[in-house]
Symmetry: D3
Subunit: 337 residues, 6 copies
């Protein structure tokens, strides 16, 4: 089992049943998730030894996070306990034309107050094949930003692959701030998840004419980015068409060696839970690359993984590699008996 | 806050979970609602001081109604307690091709036995901007019919706007009875919600040729009605295309000064709960008129309010004016984070 | 009330809520069902006196089966108690593109160990109008196979109609085994439910050219089968187009006197629970035949019954004959109030 | 299987979860029950062919009652369909010091409007061993009162045993009314359930001095009653000590041939659901008498049946004769594995 | 209706079902409560016009608080919206020998950051009969402490009664801090809820010999305190004997004019939810005083109110004055029908 | 972290809500447990590295077992996948006087068919401090019996402590069979959990006179057993007084060096879930011994652990060593805030 390390925040998600508003509900469903934790969970289900590095409070919620991760096979050896609180968010899932609404309560979380010196970077990375991080972690504090750079530099020294997902959140930092930090970080990255808007607004690329088909525009952006950061080997993203909150179309893109590979279009209808859809896509990409799959197979596997995620509650993709492969290769919706 | 008064019956609604029949269920979900009560709730969420005038029994169910109304900010100062029982109905929600089924048990309710002299009309109307009523109240008893006329006459004297929703229910009275009463009542009405079928079957208008597009037919009817009742300033209705019980299309119509204004078509799919969809539409119309919105804005606001209602359980539209406006102005289904 | 007899296995079905995987769930929904039991339940709701012959353990689950059948009006006079266990299966319902998954645990069930001599065939069949069986029972043991032949021979002697549903399950026996047994059985059958794949793989008919429309192909197969088994009077099946696990199209076929009768196409969206959809179709066919409906009416009734089944949870079709007829004759999804 | 007939009203019971008030609850648990229906259910579980005679509306709730009865094996051949509504009541179960509260909504029920001529008394009683009735039915209408007398007279003519439970409900009729009717009825009764308060307030017996132990007082009353109505062979009742709503003590009394037989004291703690506790006691008495058990055994069986009922939700005692006997004969609370 | 004002924090309470630990639960029950908010709710149910002054975030949780308060009839005219977050706590309710465990996450709440100048004290107090506060508010910030003193001084000037509940929480401040603040505050208080431990540890009274009966010790303390603060007219507290988490004994004490009045002992078994038990006691005391009840009646009313609270879920006492009085005057646990 | 190994069967437990019978329930709560698995879970929560050796099917239920164990931190490195099925049992929990009822369906489980050669005994035991087994495993098959002896012999060779819990189940084997096997096994055991009945019926000790106090009798038995098997160092058991199914008294016994140490008596009321109470006791004993606690402390710790288990749902004791110690040292039921 290859070892993989991800670093990030994990939060408590409190959500209501379908068709019930947050301010009316006398019951909240409990999930735990965060971008990098979700990637670790997916990779664990894909057969990797995934370690999630983070910090949670030494209280029942911290303990719940530990249980959650362990139940998915994620190693919690470097899950620190301490600090004030677990970040939380409240989610009122959209239905039909009505959008999902999220209320965050994540400030002052144990992870956001994590100091670089609490973490034994070298020990954590020893023997790892891959280190993955997302832009959310960079946004939380300068101390975490510093920690990420320490991890990336050490990873590069140790010959470990690195992966970065832009995951820009306007509620956490400005485009200006994000742009500066990410530009410094990209030289350390091998695999990068980045969308059109990221390319334009965070990397400052010129807008490509809207008359071009979407995939041509994306190729332009990816070509330019790879020229700027020749260390990047893979770039990926999804095209999501939002028909409404219960009905999306999803297609995955993977760019490598100057070629764009696309998956088929998945019809996500009805959507059970969209949260974590992007994380499961990236985990699929990483798994495919580490497994040395053919490129067309990587992108179809990753998009299938993401499509499956949309059919289950929770932030995590609980499907095994075999299940995703079987799903990739068969007709949708057939009963097996 | 402008004061609004509605008068009507509120009932206990007992419904089953999706895909469970009434005669199999060992659990009923509890809601409280009624046409005029629902309008009051919507208007309260839109920022008006809404009073709901009614009578409920002096038992835990009457108390539950009070809690329900108060929790939505509706004033219960004129909610009388007494009489025998709270009307109830049992609802088995439709799914896909299967229609919703309703079993009523509303006879002998406290409200249906309400006598005109129990109500202090003048005090209730004092300071009000609008009085709203629906055809259901007229159908329940001659005493209530009399009460409604007393209210309308007093309202007209006091310079208060009046609103009437046909809301014809064949289980409560015949078309003949309804027709007679409503024709006497319309001279007191400023804002009127009336559909094509109402125009033909209750007001006795000649059927307009089916070769005309639906909106042209509606315009004909509205023109004629306004000629008959020049006091009416606004007429409104919705066009609902029922693809199946889980999937409808909805468009709103508002006729004023000889012009028909239409909203965009809302795709209601999936429908969480259709009950109260009409009431939230009317509340949107009333709110738009009282706010002095431009006419196109009134009809798009009202139809959006109704569309949102279809995405939540219960008879009530719990969305604030700001939420409806934001929904009116944005793409459907986008996540906000 | 005409008496009808069905013989087969009934199992415990344990399933999870939508969007929850079997290995994550701390709650299972409990249903009881089996092909022939489901047919009996449907026929009971259609006004027949349906007897279900089977064997269940003398424990709380056996008692639960009895309660289940009785609650649907099915007579349990010949439901034997004894043996080791009730067969069970675990179901993770599909959503959207994700298929339903089933894990069986049915071996060594009380029914599968039933010996022919435990059953008083003549008494059971006395006064019956119809005896129905499916291929699942044939697959479970040689003893049950023998029992089925005894029933069929006796039924023919007593002038009782017989019905057989192929219901081939690859997990229970090979095509080779099934083919041999079924060929011996068909000479005793009056009404037969058999699909295209059954015709080719189990009856060994030559594949009809794919360029023909599906209904033409089916006619060819049915014509040939009826030539081989001139005793068969009715053949039926459904065409199901699986758009995804939540969205199917369904059309019913009934072949009699050299003519194929087809129902309209039902759009099953969303599907609440697909299990038992075939059984309710057959029950509709049987009811229509026994009632002497016109052929077009039989097939529209049967397909409507099956479409309705997809809108409720559980293996059983709980709709009465009146409800199915009303559904057959009205627009889908209209609210009745 | 001996045939038994009971006649009475069955109602919808809507109750809340423990610790939740009726006016706060958004979920009601659904049960169906009524004094005589509950007796029929118990006797069905004890192995008798119990027929319940009543009238319920021809709507989903009437159908639910039918399902309920059938699921317990009660024969519904004489359950009429029609009339306006199913009576209902709302129950907020007590906990600890807080008492249970009940809000009735039973007026105008289909049963209360039943006319004697709708019922084919002779056919119903044919072959029966016992006819059972309670005071509630007498209280509902003069027509029902008349019907009960017709049943009793016919039963006496046909040599059928009769049983009567006082079940006095102050909300339904006055002591004066009840007294007059019951005195006319007792001459037709063989088995009578009657408490101390009934003896004093409804039969007008002189209060026996409080210095006597409770069982001595009861003996006095029973002796006098049997002198007045020498046709009565058995008199029974329970002594219930209410420590609080969750904790009661229960002891059963059976008086026959001038001797009082008492069960042991059952400690009912915690009480899951007290409704129907009396009905299961009477069913136990009737079953014991019909089975010809020794008198000590009858009273211990009946009280054990009632004690068991307190441990399950719903109005009905779902325990078989074997289960009650095993319970009667073993230590409380021992695990069996 | 007399007007009453309370000021304090209200929090989100997330709790698990009985017998489920916080770190295992995938569902949290949602309640809202806080010491002073709970007092306001009780007083609203007792027929007072209760205003709750606080600050909650302008997000769905703030809106949920508003709904919660309104549903209980509490006036939210002075409920400010803004700030960062709603304080929250996680509760794992004890059962039997196992204690309740609480994890707080209340720092940086909107209320804790409230500044005195945001509040229009004079307007709020205008027309009020009583102002109530607890020690928790004093502990949250110096700014809130200042605000409380402003309120108390203004109240005294305006002739408004004041009430103070010690409610010492060791997790919020030290005994030393609390002692200093409370001593400065007591001169403004008319009604004071203070226990033995408060008297010793916060007011520094000498420990009274343990050989004295508990009520004698309490009298000593109260006598001394009233000598120190002659402005105080009423002192109250409860004696709670914890047999285990599900079984307590509760007795109320009220000291006035040198006399100690005690309620009967309530046996709280089983306890449904203990949170808010103290607040409902104080609300009972305040209601009794404002109603001018005889002193023995005040203390029996208040303790009964608290006992009832223990039988329902949530922080609030939802019983009306009539219900509490009826409970005070009747046998525990009797069914009413 | 010391390594501990347990070997045994783990089953699916399906149970109903309180007060609901198995044959009425449409929902089953899902738990996974087994004697040795439960011991492993407890020891994992006490800070040991616990390995559970077993075999489960390669289906969603096998996967659910894996999730369950991992979520409690138990290592599943030696959890084999294969075979036919997961054993299951159905549990109707007792309440008050009504006993718990269990229906087993465990035959032909993957574990019961496990062959000795599938297990790499030496690798599994390498580095272990303790090997624990119960009598249930011995009862399941001769192959498992053989496997247990191989484990024990190897453990003794490797200097690993061994523990055995009699756990006699009459449904699995006769006393005669059990007696023979256990007598051969005891010479390999260091720590032995054995009750009075086990001593008499399985080890054939003479019954000690009933006039002796229970602890004196137990001492006699333990003295004799230790004379017969001088290798045994610790003997333990609990005295459980069953007041009813919801109310037990529990006291723990530990016999070492000729002395009997007893815990205090725990009042278990109400009991939330009794299953696994014995396993958590043994885990407490083992933890105490491995930690080198003083003997009085071991027995109080173990009994406290068992008492806590009774307050939570499921087979497992989810309390950490710190939580058990805190519970051991404090008053029952006090709230901590």
């Amino acid at each position: 089992m290859k070892k993989i390390v991800t670093l990030g925040e994990i939060m408590l998600r409190l959500s209501t049943a379908e068709g019930v508003r947050l301010n009316q509900s006398n019951q909240f469903t409990v999930h735990y998730g965060g971008a990098e934790a979700n990637v670790a969970v997916s990779l664990s289900h894909f057969g990797y030894q995934a370690f999630f590095v983070s910090k949670v409070p030494a209280n029942p919620l911290g303990s719940a996070v530990e249980r959650h991760l362990k139940s998915h096979g994620v190693r919690t050896d470097y899950l620190l306990k301490g600090g004030e609180r677990l970040g939380a968010y409240y989610l009122e899932a959209g239905v039909g034309e009505r959008s999902t609404q999220v209320a965050y309560d994540r400030k002052n979380s144990s992870f956001s107050k994590l100091e670089a010196e609490e973490v034994v970077i070298e020990e954590i990375l020893r023997g790892a094949s891959l280190f993955h991080i997302s832009g959310i972690t960079l946004a939380l504090s300068t101390s975490l930003r510093e920690l990420v750079f320490l991890f990336l530099k050490k990873a590069k020294k140790m010959g470990i692959k690195t992966s970065f997902d832009f995951n820009y959140r306007a509620k956490l930092w400005t485009q200006q701030e994000a742009s500066e930090v990410i530009k410094l970080l990209l030289p350390y990255i091998d695999i990068c998840s980045c969308g059109e808007l990221d390319a334009v607004h965070l990397l400052g690329l010129d807008l490509v004419g809207g008359s071009l088909p979407q995939e041509e525009r994306l190729k332009c952006y990816y070509q330019k980015i790879m020229k700027m950061y020749p260390n990047i080997q893979y770039m990926c993203s999804t095209f999501r068409t939002v028909i409404n909150a219960s009905n999306n179309r999803l297609l995955g893109n993977l760019y490598v060696n100057g070629e764009l590979y696309q998956s088929k279009v998945h019809c996500l209808e009805p959507i059970v839970d969209r949260v974590g859809g992007g994380d499961s896509f990236i985990a699929g990409i990483l798994s495919g690359i580490l497994d040395g799959l053919p490129t067309e197979r990587i992108i179809s596997f990753a998009t299938a993984a993401s499509a499956l995620k949309h059919t289950v509650h929770g932030d995590c993709n609980p499907f095994s590699k075999e299940e995703v492969l079987q799903f990739t290769d068969t007709e949708p919706g057939k009963i097996k008996r």
